[in-house]
Symmetry: C2
Subunit: 383 residues, 2 copies
């Protein structure tokens, strides 16, 4: 293993630069610790115990997950305080109970009176639940919309009245921060997020209902918020790897992209100034979110020789299932990219790209430019 280089890996493969990962983890961890906020990393991006353990260093070990498969996997890995961040439904409560009986404080989120009643009913048997009420701070996804917070107190009272149910707090996700591309724009969303989640907590407290956890989070708002007052924890996720979308938003710099897809050049088509690589829709994903601010990134850009370095204007402009179409506004340097040569493609959206792989081949750009495979981390996919 210790002498394997990326030239010997199969293609496509997923490459993780440990040096960049460490920098990304430290930057967020330090920033939140200095702000007096606990980091509850959202491990939906990494889905890796090895990355998860590094991500919680300097905090108290709490994490966020997006699937029950992740909850089980991280529980096996020894994590004890896990927030399952997708609205719970009654049919999933037995799976929650199973992990809680093993000593894992697997917490759930919800925003609906019917679900509150189902949780209360499930707790009658003696099982316990820890529940956060989800608040919509402006993203228009899940949660009770702020400032109306329709039904907040009704839901809270049903949960409070149920023996065995711990109403642990409130949570929100400012997903609309992904559509801003200036620090000021993101900071404004962060303040909107803070006001909504702190406002919801205060509405509970004003009714005599404790609200110990006030949970916000998204990578952009965690990076650019000017004020965390009242927030107890943040749940950023994609910061662990970053990607082209985060670069264009301004959550990170061009040198902070830890993840890339290793692909082989499989064909030259000079009559249309294209070449093909063996990384297509499945290897890269069809996520085009980074095109919102940079349409020319296509489905990912070709990294220069040095890991994570700035792109040089060559991108995957189209893809079918296993073919990536690589193009550029300038003539492609076919001589530098012969058939069988390898390129590294920076993903638009790391969370979605990574989900096609069962492992990370870990390299270290500070060691030898990222040539040697220094480790392999596993991942948990599916549900």
């Amino acid at each position: 293993m210790s002498t394997q280089t990326i030239d010997e890996l199969p293609t496509p493969s997923l490459i993780l630069d440990r040096a960049i990962l460490h920098r990304n983890l430290k930057r967020m961890s330090d920033r939140l610790r200095n702000a007096g906020v606990i980091l509850r990393p959202h491990l939906k991006t990494a889905k890796s115990i090895q990355v998860g353990r590094m991500a919680v260093e300097g905090h108290d070990g709490r994490i966020t997950v997006s699937t029950l498969a992740e909850a089980r996997y991280f529980a096996r890995g020894g994590f004890k305080d896990i927030l399952y961040g997708v609205g719970i439904v009654p049919a999933k409560l037995p799976a929650i109970t199973e992990l809680r009986r093993q000593g894992v404080n697997l917490r759930v989120v919800m925003d609906n009176l019917a679900v509150a009643r189902a949780i209360a009913a499930a707790a009658i048997s003696g099982d316990t639940f820890s529940v956060l009420i989800e608040i919509d701070s402006g993203a228009g996804r899940a949660g009770l919309p702020f400032p109306e917070l329709p039904g907040l107190l009704d839901i809270a009272r049903v949960l409070r009245a149920a023996p065995g149910v711990d109403l642990a707090g409130v949570m929100t996700h400012a997903g609309h921060s992904y559509h801003q591309s200036t620090p000021e724009g993101i900071a404004a969303i962060a303040e909107q997020e803070r006001r909504a989640i702190v406002g919801a907590a205060e509405a509970l407290r004003a009714a005599g209902i404790p609200c110990p956890i006030v949970s916000g989070g998204s990578t952009p708002t965690a990076m650019h918020s000017a004020d965390f007052t009242g927030i107890t924890e943040m749940r950023p996720g994609v910061y662990v790897f970053n990607d082209l979308d985060q670069e264009f938003i301004g959550s990170c710099g061009a040198g902070d992209l830890a993840l890339s897809v290793l692909a082989s050049v499989i064909g030259h088509y000079p009559h249309r100034n294209q070449l093909l690589v063996d990384a297509g829709a499945l290897a890269l994903s069809k996520d085009i979110s980074a095109q919102e601010f940079q349409p020319k990134v296509g489905f990912g850009t070709i990294a220069s020789a040095a890991a994570g370095a700035a792109t040089n204007g060559i991108a995957v402009v189209d893809c079918s299932q296993e073919h990536g179409f690589v193009g550029s506004n300038r003539p492609l340097p076919y001589g530098d990219l012969p058939i069988g040569s390898r390129v590294r493609i920076l993903p638009n959206h790391a969370c979605i790209t990574a989900a096609a792989y069962d492992r990370y081949y870990v390299v270290d750009s500070e060691l030898d430019g990222g040539r040697t495979v220094v480790d392999v981390y596993d991942r948990i996919n599916g549900w």
Copy 2:
């Protein structure tokens, strides 16, 4: 297992309707057999031995795959004539050899003189290869563009001169048929495909080079071609399941969609006429190809109660990693879709959606409307 119903499955799950699958398989198999063309199904869609075995019934067992992982998996399943349909590179030749030494005629495709020379060099050791030259019949993906066919004879002569190398024929994929939506438009592409691939075969034969296999294929052209003269085999893939894109193109009818994603309703948001389901970007994929002809399908449409039935105007209009945003131009029927209820979502592009799952839960709409899980088929993902 025999008494499990889809109400007991975890969500999201991938549901395959066996009755529709059988109809789809029979329609294509009969059509090509009646035309005197052998079906070499492209199993990149199903990636399932069980589906593969059914797909080759009435033909001679040859198949197409898109990854080496598929090649190994189908070889283990007893398939003996496998075309790896993505341009080969020298670094992958040892993997090809490994399977060929096990008695599997794993054939490769290529379009480049450098690769022809690498194959010839690899054969010097005594290993054999079976090679098809790829032709671009107008899709602008891989292959030597027709009618110029630059380098065709040079490549063919290098392969012919190498002991142990079988130049088996020529192949093409008319991927541009996916951008037509009338039978006439598709038939015109099919004729373009036929002329190109038969033209390439004739160019070889005119130079004294045999060309036994003349391989075309795409689901639309296989369904709508008026003339297969000169073509020996076709390689359609998505027809096994069909999807919204194929429906809108006209490759199938609304009742021919065999695949759906089972999801749970996790939240109601009447203030914006939306609800959320627990199937998002990973469970559905971010493939939006079906929007080319029907923008309102979003990331998939909600199927009516009966399996595979026509949609009723409700679609997944947006998605984040594990959240699907469901909307409609009309007020959503929240009473019919309470929290925790289950919906089936018809995918835009079956090949890409299915790749997120490791199994198919098989139901049969002709048995009991598709309620009981009658079988589980596995899948091979990754590379």
